[in-house]
């Protein structure tokens, strides 16, 4: 059980590291990106094991990395997305998104069938809700610090 978690964490850290390189993040932040990926994925799996649905688990996991990255970005002078976006790469619903679009094109090519509509709505909805969960989770710490400071006159 524990060893499975660790193995999954390592395999989640690799994509975070690889994609951090594609985004050309500064060299000294690479290790944090890898850590972030491991933290986020492990958190999501842990939440899912507690019988929390995928979307909510994703939201909670990205909230955690949003808070953690707040500390990292204050320590070094680095904008927060440098840490957070590679870290949430293992959570991205890439396969859902591509399947949804392929279904859409299939419908045009081979005619609309109820099965295709089902698949399209299922995958598209999953994509949008998971993405929204990720974005909202990452934004939550900074939304908390934004206040309506200007007088309303």
């Amino acid at each position: 059980m524990i060893s499975e978690y660790i193995l999954n964490a390592i395999f989640a850290a690799i994509p975070a590291l690889g994609f951090a390189m594609v985004f050309n993040v500064p060299k000294h932040t690479l290790i944090y990106c890898a850590f972030g990926g491991a933290i986020t994925y492990t958190a999501r799996v842990a939440f899912q094991d507690m019988d929390i649905p995928l979307e909510l688990a994703t939201f909670l996991a990205s909230t955690i990395i949003g808070i953690v990255a707040l500390y990292w970005s204050k320590q070094f002078v680095i904008p927060r997305p440098v840490y957070t976006i590679p870290a949430i790469i293992p959570l991205l619903p890439g396969t859902y998104a591509f399947t949804a679009i392929i279904n859409l094109i299939d419908m045009n090519a081979h005619g609309v069938t109820p099965e295709l509509i089902n698949l399209f709505i299922e995958n598209g909805l999953k994509t949008i809700i998971i993405l929204g969960g990720i974005g909202l989770g990452l934004a939550l710490p900074s939304l908390y610090s934004i206040r309506y400071t200007r007088p309303i006159t």
Binding site: P15, G18, V22, F23, T84, D106, L131, L138, A139
Partner: protein
Amino acid sequence: MNKITYEEQTKITRAIIKAAVLMLEFGAESRLIELTAQRLGNALGVDSVEVSLIPSAIVLSTLSNNQTQSVTTTRRAHHKPINMSIVCDVQKMCHDLEKGNHNVDFVFNTIKGIQPKYYNRWLVIFMVGLSCASFAYLTGSDLQAFFVTFVASSLAMFTRQELAKRKFVLILTFMFTAFVATIISGLSQIYNLSSTPNIALSSSVILLAPGFPFVNSVLDAVKGYLAMGWGRWMQAVLLTVATSLGIILALALLSLKGW
């Protein structure tokens, strides 16, 4: 408070918008752009900086001399592949400016000196291949599919770098890269290399998932930059459609049913 002449203020405005355009082009989040512009303005001695962002351009006004003198300028932003090292460099320049006693020329000189830092391309190819293979593992593939994904996405990343070097439009790059990745992982399905060919097919194109635009779009939207949010969402959807087209072309060529 000493007065700023119109010429000086124009120069300051040009310096600020140069930094802001650089950040927008290389994929910074809207709030970061606005805050950085305002901090640069404060450090350079203007009263306030107002920024209006749309996906393809920036309009920026500076006010000075007790808000009586205003300079406005507009720049077009051409979107480029995401490069966080440039965004970090601009951010660092902003901090240096706030700390030390620098003037406008410091901003111009620093921006001229900012060069994109790239990692060794073969290292990136290897790491991206390994990343997509890790995705395959996480979705539960067997060992053969793991290696097929590794080969397919490494070659796809090589294609992507070659196309990026020739400065092709992102949509074409994504389409062709998805095509290459799917051809290779589709061949493994035809020759029955693994028992989980579907996972190899879907994992090898994960390197094209437009994570940055999608996440940035949600971040922008919830922080009140609605136009930017829509713009980035559209960009991300376009890239996803382009990727799917590449996948479909390759599947049709191999006459596979899909995943």
